[in-house]
Amino acid sequence: MKTITVRYFAMFREHAGLSEEMLQTDAATALDVFEQTRSRHGSSEPSGHCKVAINDEMAEWTCDVNDGDIVLLFPPVAGG
């Protein structure tokens, strides 16, 4: 098990009712974290629409998650 911090943004934050939380998890990848927090952020699917960052670097869903990481879950972006 590892301890990570998960941060939610925009719609994800509103749905979760919180902006971040600590998780004890066996998640191996960013996608695992997304799946395990699905009931929090409320998204039905990540690929192609949502993005993830780990420790303030944009990441792929297949990236490893390590103890102490901060995982940022981004709903579809809409700048401009």
Binding site: A10, M11, P76, A78, G80
Partner: protein, 141 residues
């Protein structure tokens, strides 16, 4: 240069900063807050920005534009916070020796800014409702 602005974008100052004796022209795109979206009347909107990554990703977009279209100066500023109808939401300026690369680089930058940066737009409608733009596809709330 890429930046996030929490208050009105100083478009006149930005234009002056782009002045360059080697440039033959300046191509500017200003994104404005529109009063309608998908049939709904918009009263105002709010941009949420995760600034650390928005800035670093924005700088990457500018750098890639300069790599693709050499000899140009490029700048982009994006708003955060609450905006009213008609406010400037995003400003892109590209000064280049010739118009072709200026137009192309400006288009490249705004297109990339819209899809790559962690920025989210919440619209507030005249009927009192509100919603995150483009999020409904993804979220099953």
């Amino acid at each position: 240069m890429f930046a996030i602005a929490a208050t009105d974008i100083a478009v006149d100052e930005l234009r002056l900063q782009m002045m360059d004796p080697a440039a033959g022209g300046l191509c500017v795109f200003e994104g404005w807050v529109r009063n309608e979206n998908e049939g709904r009347t918009v009263e105002r909107l709010e941009y949420e920005v995760y600034e650390p990554l928005a800035v670093s990703e924005g700088e990457k977009v500018i750098a890639e534009a300069k790599r693709r279209f050499p000899h140009l100066q490029a700048c982009c500023v994006h708003r955060s916070g609450l905006l009213e109808i008609g406010d400037c939401a995003v400003w892109v300026g590209v000064a280049a020796p010739h118009r072709d690369e200026a137009f192309k680089a400006c288009r490249y930058i705004i297109d990339q800014i819209k899809v790559k940066l962690p920025i989210w737009k919440k619209e507030y409608y005249t009927d009192g409702d509100s919603g995150w733009v483009n999020c409904e596809r993804c979220a099953n709330v």
